[in-house]
């Protein structure tokens, strides 16, 4: 029995309906009310925070389902041998390199280090990221110098009727996805 309760009981004559005898003592009631207040605060906090966080979470993009599968980059001779260029593939930057032998190599232009957009440097000739100096092999997309932890995500480049067609190669992509994180 708490001290308060004892004090109440010793100062009265213990009537059969003494309030101090049967009912909950003041400190216990106070504690209960405090607990209730805490629960109210907690649930009010959660009721405000959860919808707020949901509101701030961006909705899925409307055109996420209409993913670009392939694009045309125009005539083959628009890219000279030993040159490269950046282009837009769907909603992402991409890069194509035509090596000295005339072969085409295309990749996602997103640096696997911190997401900057890479470029072809004809003098090396490598794919280079200006942000932190990462370098990739222009033929394989392999990370060869600097901080990038993974190779560039490959794209399929082919010539159809003299026109360069860039597409996602599912098998290649699947293999790539196995060892790296997603890029879609």
């Amino acid at each position: 029995m708490s001290e308060d309760k004892q004090a109440v009981n010793s100062s009265c004559k213990q009537c059969p309906d003494c309030p101090g005898k049967e009912t909950v003592s003041m400190p216990e009631r106070r504690q209960f009310l405090k607990l209730l207040l805490g629960l109210f605060a907690l649930s009010w906090g959660a009721m405000t925070t959860i919808p707020l966080l949901q509101y701030l979470t961006p909705p899925a993009s409307e055109d996420a389902g209409q993913e670009v599968k392939s694009i045309s980059l125009g005539k083959l001779d628009s890219i000279a041998k030993g040159q490269g260029k950046n282009f837009q593939f769907g909603r992402k930057p991409a890069i194509i390199v035509r090596d000295d032998a005339g072969e085409l190599h295309a990749f996602s232009a997103i640096c696997t280090h911190l997401g900057c957009t890479v470029q072809f440097t004809p003098d090396k000739p490598n794919i280079w990221c200006a942000c932190h100096g990462g370098q990739y092999d222009a033929k394989s997309g392999k990370n060869i110098a600097g901080p990038p932890p993974k190779p560039l995500m490959p794209l399929k480049a082919e010539v159809v009727n003299g026109e360069i067609i860039i597409s996602k190669e599912s098998a290649q992509k699947a293999a790539f996805m196995k060892e790296t994180t997603s890029w879609v």
């Binding site: 909603r91 911190l114 470029q119 901080p147």
Partner: protein, 357 residues
């Protein structure tokens, strides 16, 4: 009773002016050979006021929309009367503000002003520095030029490397899968609403603490015999000196703005390669340069993640210093000093290296 006196009496009865005056006069400022560092907090505050004023003015013309943002800044600096001046004041002011915070931080650190009972002043000050970084980071993107675009991309990507909540935080900042309109809208909101709100509150707490505890005295002053301890009243003596220093700072700022107006890069193109020679603002340069030296992988973790964990550890240790070096252990005091010198030297060396490389 003159009219001025009557007005004063009337106001005093309602606003308790005398109490405020007593509060301002209560504080004294110790006079010693390191007293010059006491001006830094005030300098930071006056530069912050410049930021509020010029930031408000910039919003008159700035349009937070990706197709118009760059144009609106270009229009502001090339056509609007004094537009270039206001914009340069804001950009230069921001840099000087962060510089003054750094000097303030390191000077209070080496004077060991973080010790009891000023732990909360120290922590609120450090949080203010983080808020200032937030201002710098979000404000950098708003003109939507190419360097800003990639700097934000990198910054958000680094955020995503934080353990557990990194990806979620990056998505929240980006507002989608790519840096675009949603990012600009969010950064704008953070820059002009959230951070100013947080900063005002934090600065209130910081200044209130300074008022509660008075100005900190370095050990060399504390141990002097009472007759050798010189001090001056904060109000009006130190405040008047403060005003003179502020005037110098404002003149310096105006000179920088006049001689080196802030530029604007080409408009951001999400599909163009990152421009050669891209670098972050100088206050992130040391971290940038350090991260650049790390290999792709350090053991099982990415180099970037290792670097971020290291910076996080240093930050936590700086924040915990009041609880390590309490003033009763010479070893802890020595550790604080050596650690401080290492951090400061590392910061300066990597910043310079970043500039020249």
């Amino acid at each position: 009773m003159g009219i001025a006196e009557k007005v004063y009496q009337w106001l005093d009865k309602r606003l308790y002016l005398k109490n405020w005056q007593a509060l301002a006069e209560k504080k004294t400022v110790p006079v010693h050979k390191h007293s010059i560092w006491y001006y830094l907090g005030g300098i930071a505050m006056v530069l912050l006021l410049v930021q509020f004023a010029t930031g408000g003015l910039l919003m008159v013309y700035y349009v937070p929309e990706i197709a118009s943002a760059h144009d609106s800044v270009l229009n502001l600096i090339s056509k609007v009367n004094f537009g270039w001046f206001v914009r340069s004041l804001h950009s230069w002011g921001a840099n000087l503000f962060i510089l003054s915070l750094f000097v303030h931080l390191f000077s209070t650190y080496f004077m060991r002003a973080y010790r009891s009972p000023r732990e909360m002043t120290w922590l609120s000050g450090l949080t203010l520095l983080v808020v200032a970084f937030g201002f710098g980071f979000t404000g950098y993107l708003l003109p939507w030029d190419d360097v800003a675009f990639f700097a934000s991309k990198i910054g958000i990507d680094i955020t995503s490397k934080a353990p557990f909540i990194g990806e979620w935080m990056a998505t929240m900042l980006r507002g989608g899968a790519e840096v675009g309109q949603s990012t600009l809208s969010r950064f704008f909101l953070i820059h002009v609403f959230l951070l100013p709100l947080g900063l005002t509150g934090l600065m209130g707490i910081h200044l209130l603490m300074v008022q509660f505890h008075g100005i900190s005295e370095p050990d060399s002053f504390k141990t002097l015999p009472p007759e050798k301890k010189k001090s001056e009243k904060f109000f009006p003596t130190f405040v008047l000196k403060d005003l003179m220093v502020w005037l110098l700072v404002l003149n310096g700022l105006a000179l920088l703005v006049g001689l080196f107006p802030w530029g604007l890069g080409p408009e951001a193109d999400a599909f163009a390669p990152a421009p050669a020679g891209i670098k972050p603002e100088w206050y992130f340069l040391a971290m940038f340069q350090f991260l650049k030296q790390l290999p792709a992988m350090i053991g099982p973790i990415e180099g970037e993640q290792f670097g971020m964990m290291l910076f996080g550890g240093i930050g936590l240790l700086v924040a915990a210093m009041p609880f390590i070096d309490k003033g009763n252990n010479p070893k802890a005091a020595l550790f604080a000093k050596v650690f401080g010198i290492l951090v400061l030297t590392g910061f300066i060396v990597f910043t310079i290296w970043g500039f020249v490389s």
